[in-house]
Symmetry: T
């Protein structure tokens, strides 16, 4: 059963408590629950990781080498300046889907630039917390196709 | 049964004939077929439209007023300069998901800027032709939630 | 009786249905009615044209050569990228007044740049649909002066 | 009888003496005469003010608080850097029409940016000294509508 | 006998009527006549197409797939923003020569940037209507060489 | 008893009448009263000056040479283009604290750049009219320390 | 007794050892001592936190939710790129005063841009370590006013 | 005897008191004395004017119309934003030499841009207060040549 | 028999040895041979010049004054910074065609800007070494037309 | 025996596993082995540190105060945004050599800007893992010279 | 008798033959003659040098070390990109006056930036060939003052 | 015995006479002597070349084709605009190390951009004249490894 990691960057542990118009009402725990159900259905193993530390996420990603078959990542604000994260993702060598809960292209100018996107397979932005599920679904299909 | 329109911009009628590394091997006819199956499953009506003319797409979108409940659009190269299309989408007043087959953020610099995204609910980029299906699936869920 | 053409670009056929805070409540039909009355008063012939197609507007402008004595144009979103329209206006060789219903200088940054203005005699922006009448009035006076 | 102020910025007292291809042949006295006739016709009171001092125009605008119902202003070169003037106009709280005799969008690049426009209701540019009359006419209609 | 298409963008149907200092005195009909003679001499078939609609040119280019061996294109003002045209040219897969009658590098700043050039084999700018003949001549030699 | 001058730029005489969400409810007279009390407490002499004229403020600052020991200045909109004011402040040779009532860094982009700050000792922005008092308090402490 | 947190970013633990012309001679311990005295006087509780890790500061700020009534923060170099910190501050929902010991607007160009300021209530820059006290004093007054 | 006006902008009345490394030790009175001697020698009449008010300088320049044959101007900081001054100089219609005591091209970036230079005949920068004499000398020769 | 000079800038003496994918396989000697044949056919005299020194090319161009009737120039890398060369070409006063063997618009960003083009009659880019022949052919026709 | 620290930023612990064309085949362990031999030869003590956390590197650098005589640092992706690291290096007060294994000036545009270089003594880029040895060798010579 | 060198950059040997509206009618020989007379009067020795080669000018400037007391230079187009010339001037260590015959600030945008000015004592621009004499006169006075 | 060329650009022949804080006290002759000793030790042949002429350096580099195995180059100010030099280096096809004596990244903004670096193997900047020796040492090792 292939392993897919779902990684969240800074401040995303507070889902449900942050600005709900922007990030929705579901807590991170609820989102994980839905993803676990989806994963069971799709017959993949999930592993969750969240940190407010760019370095910790890089450490975690390095630890996934040889273990994970794909990655869903919402880099939070690291999206816009996390070049170390970017290099770690590029080094990892598995398909990566970048997810944003809010539509980063409809907010402040600086949020519309992602330094992560050029090393991702694809990007899902603005589709709320359901974006994680779509990313997971796509990765599983992609892995099955390979 | 709500109507969801799936709109393709310039040159996307040649899917399967264009650069396959970038846009995949499936023809537009095959993609539509898969979408029709998905729609049947999700119990929504689909309508397809493609044009190489920005004006024709604007005409078409105006004709959707009051008929469509949601929209999936891949604006093709209009993504980067189609301000008339943007205004038409903003005027339409239904949820719009912008889809790109290739990852526009990993190509030429000018392709990473979309003038459409600020008026879309969300964006799916780089997930191949399956991006259309994810967009459809999300729209249906979104409509159901409203 | 000199002919003055009044040309509207993309999405302006929906006046009265678009965002009313921005574009006012009058429909295009009502605006035309007021312009016809004004024209009768000023003793000029009016011709109206609207299209969502830049190419069609260029075709129409070429057809005005030798027929029209002046032009009122609201280019809609083509204001910001319609270089073909700009060339057609420059080639036409009659006085052109550019009209915008909303104040394009008080909206998104990109709306404050017009590629049309450098080839127009003048610009009226933000005075609502009455801007068309002022433009007409000015053109008639200008033609009378020449 | 509502009061409408007509304000001219630096160097506009020399109308008729400045470059006539750009600013026309009419002197400021002649322009005022035409505006007085128009005002009589429209049943509004006019007050004229011109200064080469940004500070003096700000002083004058502050003195209009509670007295004026609308404002026509040609800020001259202050158009491009008069942020104090801009704040004074925003504070005034009555409809403002910005007028330029020449078409500022068809001259040097720096003249095509107005720091005033974002706080004006609308802009009339390039329609010669008749632009003042159109602005007056519009303001009166606008006030009547309110 | 290989087919070479000669395509003109917006406003180029008015050659001979537009600003003659910029675009020369020859009409499009005269230019075509000279090209036909040249083609006869070079033993290639010519096909002409002009449109003021970007979409129509894209349609036409798609229809050339498998028929044309080479392309001469003067995109007119689309040179500067016709990204859909650019994609269509890139998809076509035959050698393209971009022609400009006037020297676009010696005019307004914005005219010196072509979004088409990166997908063309080469560019001829400023050599008047004879530029079309040089392009044709080069294409024929190029095809003979392949 | 050392003299500290408190200088206000354009439109700040209208405190309490301007947008109250931005600039607070206190009038300039009330702010001065509070500052006088504070000054009495701190044993310094205060002198107030306000003008809408950059030139007048420069005149005033030149007149402070040899008289003032420190300066609190809220340059109003001159913050963003008052290079003459900047030079006058630099020439004055006493510690200057720049005060802004609203947080200029959270408003329009152009308001976040101050041409004055590089010649000030420090900046207090966004702390309302109490910012003047903090500036005064700091200056007195600073002078005592020297 | 309300809690106010005083947070220092990278390298600020070395106050008194870093460049003294820029940052002053007082050690962080001495600054804290003065702040404790001030807090006692103002009847508020203080909590100090310093870290060289952006992630750790974000962790800390999250832990303040529901505990702190206000925040004084000197983000150190994170001022210029700490978007995760910015989001954490925006999420916190209590008044924040940003403090810089040196005048960041009078140093290298890149130091004059703060990504933090748009989510702060206000900014104090260049007033040395006394800036912390002024910030504290203001916050207490602000809380008392609410 | 032709009249040549020598005009100084903001803060230049303090020559000799300002930063002497930058602006020299001579007072404005001494500079004038040397210019008067030079003028006597060259047989021209001189008139001096200095103001810290851009508006006052514009007023003064308008009053020179028909009186002055040439102008030496050191615009001080207005060099960099005095567009009203620029227009007044352009309207004046006599040869203008722009003088800067310090070398504005070897100081802060923003000082190296003059908005005045495009309407001046020439510029002398960095040659100290003797620059005024060279400008005067050149103007007299220029007038003699005409 | 009119003289046409063919001038090559830095590194173009190594044609045939440089990157052949970019610059072709023909040596400069072979290119010259073809040009000589073409010239004989067209009844013009040719003169070749190549140098790696901008100064030497300027010297050579000055020596052509009164001798040459037209010029073909491939400035090599001087295309992008050779302002002295540009001035020399502008001074020469004969028609100039700028030639580039590779398509400079499809390479590095900096190669797409030519400082030479604004003073050339026209530009041929990307048509390989045959571009020289087309330029020659055009110049001869142009001279015959004059 | 003086201590020289060798510090590696994010992802550099994976040397030998990352893209080998870019970063070479040697593992970090092998590089360290070679450096240890070199150090023995040069009679200096070495200390190695690597972290994916910017904050941890700052902590480590602070701990070197008074212990280290020189520093070799490869900041990895922190090169481009690690302003906290930069400040820590500036505070450290010993000679720093910045090393990059790949040539950062021949890769993506954003990699060619280092925020670290202005506080380093020097930079070695693109010379592979041998760059560390050259840096060490230089530092030892430099220290010997002081 | 001190030596002052007068150096001209590319294309300035053609004075009197180049565009006379821009550069005047006097030939370089005539300009030199006038300078020689002036020098005799001022009791200094003159040496003239002109080259179209930046390298040759640098060679020449190096040869002036220890010989020349001052320098007048018109760098021609090297003004805008001659960084080697700039370094040579900075190394020379004598006062340099940069002269431009035409007013470079009133021409193309790129001509208004000089890379030379930051290392010159001063700049004279737009005063025709008499600018050389003023520069000479100033240098002699400056040397006498030292 | 492989040949390695050591090339110096403009003004570097004056090492030891130029600003010694920036470029050190060693003369070019002394630097060469040290390099000769190093070369003897490393068993390679050295050839030195210096010129103030970009063209001469290009000539020299072309003459190295087939003779040299590697290159050390300090382009001096050509670093920032020597595109012809860049092309010559790219054409040469041997490993190139770019050396700067001072740290170009810690000086004026324009010095931090090298147009040469993208075609070099690596860069050594700021390590004084010893940078040449490190470059030589690296090249010899690199050649031995090949």
């Amino acid at each position: 059963m292939p392993l897919i990691a779902v990684v969240n960057g800074p401040n995303l542990n507070l889902l449900g408590e942050r600005d709900q118009d922007m990030y929705g009402k579901a807590s991170w725990e609820e989102v994980r629950e839905e993803l676990r159900e989806k994963a069971a259905e799709l017959d993949v193993e999930l592993e969750f990781y969240q940190s407010n530390h760019e370095g910790a996420i890089v450490d975690y990603l390095q630890g996934l080498r040889g273990r994970a078959a794909g990655l869903v990542i919402n880099p939070g604000a690291l999206t816009h300046y996390g070049y170390s994260l970017r290099d770690a993702l590029a080094d990892l060598g598995v398909p990566v889907v970048e997810v944003h809960i809010s539509n980063i292209f409809a907010r402040e100018e600086w949020r519309s630039r992602s330094v992560i996107s050029p090393v991702a397979k694809g990007v899902i932005s603005g589709l709320g917390t359901r974006g994680y599920q779509l990313a997971l679904q796509w990765l599983v299909a992609e892995l099955g196709r390979g």
